[in-house]
Symmetry: D2
């Protein structure tokens, strides 16, 4: 992994954290809340691991690869869930999650 890959991965993790938190806040205001349960749960789980991965990479953690592996898998789950919903915030979140998963896997490879 190069410094450029780590830097790019940090940027994507932070963008994804913001998109997930934005989606979480918006989901909690949706009229049909019942179908957003899993989206709410995964938004926060994904935001939390993205924030943690950014911190781990920027502090030079010895386990940054393993943490980014979990981050990539959580992003996949969150993207798959968000893609089911037509809301703009879900579509934007799905795109951010996919980009973050890709950056994590590029860093790990």
């Amino acid at each position: 992994m190069t410094n450029e890959q780590i830097q790019s991965c940090i940027e994507e993790c932070m963008s994804c954290m913001l998109a997930c938190n934005n989606c979480y806040v918006a989901c909690l205001k949706e009229e049909d809340l019942n179908m957003m349960r899993e989206c709410i749960r995964l938004d926060r789980e994904c935001a939390d691991i993205c924030g943690f991965a950014a911190q781990a990479m920027s502090t030079g953690s010895q386990y940054m690869k393993e943490i980014c592996q979990i981050c990539a898998e959580t992003c996949d789950l969150c993207a798959t869930e968000c893609e089911k919903h037509h809301h703009d915030h879900c579509q934007r979140c799905a795109a951010a999650c996919s980009a973050c998963a890709k950056a994590c896997r590029a860093m790990i490879a």
Copy 2:
């Protein structure tokens, strides 16, 4: 503030974080999700500031008092919301939030 007050406040913040996260997970599974919107939101907001306050106190942050002041106020909001709901997890969360708010104010005083 004494070391005993700080230690006690750390313990209450960590207990409160767990009770809030437990309530958050259980709220997301409740049948009538519509009335749990604010409870879900405040559970996570309260869990996050409690976890941050415990970290700030245990790392000797210069702003631990100011952080615990925000923690106490967030606990008050979360306790007031949780008390509205008859679910066991909400009642337990309300009790943990009240105890945490009290410990934060004892530490600050």
Copy 3:
């Protein structure tokens, strides 16, 4: 406070978190570690509150102003300490802290 101010403040908090963590890692490798004690401590304290403030703003916390007030004050302390040292990482960190403190205060005003 406008959405633009919040968004700008989130960006500055995340940039500052990265600069502080970078300075922290680099300080721990400096030959004369003795004079870096306070810089190491404040780097992590500042990185932690910056990360927490970014999360609080992106989740729409009711106490985002109070949290950003503490963030601004911590940034001031960290900038003042970092300015004492000639290392590039300290100078870059001081600049990021000053920018972040300014963005926090613009958001609060």
Copy 4:
């Protein structure tokens, strides 16, 4: 994994986070700072993953096992480093790390 194992693991992670942060603060005040570099770094890395693991378990994360695996390995590294130093805070931290690593592995098994 049983609820009792998860609960016990959460408790050990939170105790370990406190011991690591306590050791971190104390290390930064030691006279011979040069030999504490790695201890300072690992204390914070371990405290961070312990706090994150406690949050992940209490929010029912789908990746709690994978996170606790990283936590156990980080605890091993921190325990090995702390055992090298005769300071009370290092010895207490080493014991907390070993207990936490054991609880994480019991939860995963």
